[in-house]
Amino acid sequence: MKRIFLLVALHLALLPLAVEARSPRPVGLSVARIYPYNMVGQLTFSSGNSYYIGSGTVIQPFGVLTAGHNMYDAQGGWSTDLLFKRSHYDTTELSARYGSRIYVLAGYQAAVQNSGADDVRSFARDSGGVSFQTRPATGGFLGWTTDQKILTSEAPKAVFGYGAEVHTGEQLLVNGATPFYPVYSTFSESYGTAIEAGMSGGPVIATLADGSRAVCGVVVSGSADPVTGGIRVMNSTLSDFILKYLSAPAP
């Protein structure tokens, strides 16, 4: 019964939503296993002396899109032991792959760490990827859109990820999102959309006009007061990055 309720909750989440704060909820095992949600996975990694939980999406046959701050830290350097468990739910997953190369989309005028962990300039540039030597979803992946009207409109969309703050980090969570408003450059926020730590790197999945689903942003931040969820918007730069670095097997 609980599973059925959560399935209904997921579908409601993809409809226009009320403005009051909403918390992420587990999608349930059966939903976690169906496309496109089975392209989302838990990403565990080591940084410095600690292990962390994050989230990611199979966005190309050999690549997972995630947040840049999952990949690099000014003190810890590059993260290691990146294990992507696709469609992970409690103790099972559809596949588990170690990343072979990791990337942060950042140049000399832009890097994720030095503007500070709470700086909108950091969030705007907060994107990265993991590439693998073997395909994490036997060639399947979830497409994306750079149509930013979907974000700012009432088009149905929801954020996904493995929240490990209130929840255990072992279940895929979903939270319906109200329209996102631009904050700075490619960083946008949605009022009332709560994000838990661990959801970073998870996708914002929107329903397009033709009924298909596509990633339109990457979860990068959350705020408790006021409750907001922050994302790095999909744009042509991020699109080029995906095609160039995440489409082929890791070198």
């Binding site: 590059w78 000399y108 005028q109 160039k244």
Partner: protein, 365 residues
């Protein structure tokens, strides 16, 4: 009487005209020097005025007037297309204009696109230097490098320096030591580093291009400085330098144990770029793992990072980020080296992690 009067008036008028012409010449000279953004580029003998270059020069002049008029409706793409339609004439027109030292802001920020070509130029001169570099590279004219060296003779604009360095690198493969020297000069110039422009930050890529280990301490110091923009650029540049010139950087770090010692996990990353199939690089790694001053957590970080090294990727002036590969790459060499380390018990303190590494790079997923 009337005739004498007329002669007098004519003399006065002539004197006045001469004075006016003299003042005009003086004022023009003053005006040019006041609006100069960079040293004049001498027009070479090979760039003599032709009707085509004259026409293109006029178009640049029209763009200057448009920019000075505050127009936002810029059509720099169209100007670039015109200049590129006849590269020889375009080069001549650009050189002639650069020699006038005239300039105007475009309202764009310094932005680098694919292949090191600008997607945004903050001034008309930077736009023209960018175009000159492309045309000169295309024709093998040498003008881009020649003008570049003239610009590097004076510190007027860091954005122009960045493009001058790029243009020289594009055309003169033996210029690496010169470029390294000029970049050091740029990074030591406090008036520029105090408020770094986009061009100054993008010029950090010249260090990656030169592969010069002398930038390791420079970037290490900047990474610890108080200017966040410089910290950011230095972090990316040092990582890319280690990626593009792994042996040079590893040898420097092994011979300067204090370098980056306060960021042990970051230093481990610089060794994780190594190609263990290269005997010299493997020796450098083994020297590092033998070092008593390197802590076990740092060595452990290295053994885990080499299985999945990271890269900062973006469009840059000169260097190219590592592209996605064919999947056959580094693992066999890592497996060979690590297996030998385990067999000979070469690094007993981190044996557990050596074994982890072997499993990580050999077990099929």
């Amino acid at each position: 009487m009337a005739r004498r009067h007329a002669v007098f008036i004519a003399l006065v008028v002539a004197a006045g005209a001469l004075y006016f012409l003299w003042r005009f010449a003086e004022e023009t000279r003053e005006r040019i020097s006041q609006t100069s953004a960079a040293p004049a580029a001498a027009t070479p003998a090979s760039s003599q005025t032709t009707p085509a270059s004259e026409s293109l020069y006029d178009r640049i002049g029209q763009m200057l007037a448009t920019l000075r008029g505050g127009s936002k409706a810029l059509d720099l793409t169209s100007l670039r297309r015109a200049l590129s339609s006849d590269p020889a004439a375009g080069i001549a027109a650009i050189r002639r204009f650069l020699a006038t030292r005239d300039d105007a802001a475009t309202g764009q920020r310094f932005a680098v696109g694919p292949d090191g070509v600008l997607e945004g130029a903050p001034t008309l001169r930077t736009f023209l230097l960018d175009t000159l570099g492309q045309l000169s590279r295309q024709t093998g004219d040498g003008a881009g490098a020649e003008v570049g060296r003239e610009i590097l003779a004076e510190k007027i604009s860091p954005d122009e320096w960045a493009l001058a360095l790029r243009n020289i690198a594009w055309e003169d493969p033996k210029s690496r030591p010169f470029l390294a020297q000029k970049l050091h000069e740029m990074l030591d110039y406090e008036p520029w580093t105090a408020t770094p422009t986009g061009g100054l930050l993008e010029a950090f890529d010249v260090a990656v291009f030169t592969g010069d280990a002398s930038f390791v301490p420079t970037f290490d110091a900047m990474g610890h400085g108080g200017n966040t923009a410089l910290q950011r650029a230095a972090t990316v540049a040092l990582d890319r330098l280690a990626e593009n010139s792994p042996l040079t950087v590893m040898q420097y770090l092994n011979s300067h144990p204090a370098s980056i010692a306060d960021l042990p996990f970051v230093r481990a990353d610089y060794f994780s770029k190594a190609d263990l199939g290269n005997p010299e690089q493997r020796r450098a790694v083994e020297t590092y793992l033998d070092r008593a001053d390197v802590t076990l957590p740092e060595k452990t970080k290295f053994l885990h990072a080499i299985a999945s090294p990271g890269s900062f990727v973006s469009d840059s002036l000169l260097s190219t980020s590592q592209p996605a590969g064919n999947g056959t790459g580094r693992y066999p060499a890592i497996a060979t080296a690590a297996t030998e380390w385990a067999r000979t018990n070469r690094f007993p303190a981190v044996e557990e992690h050596v074994l982890w590494l072997i499993q990580r790079v050999t077990v099929a997923e």
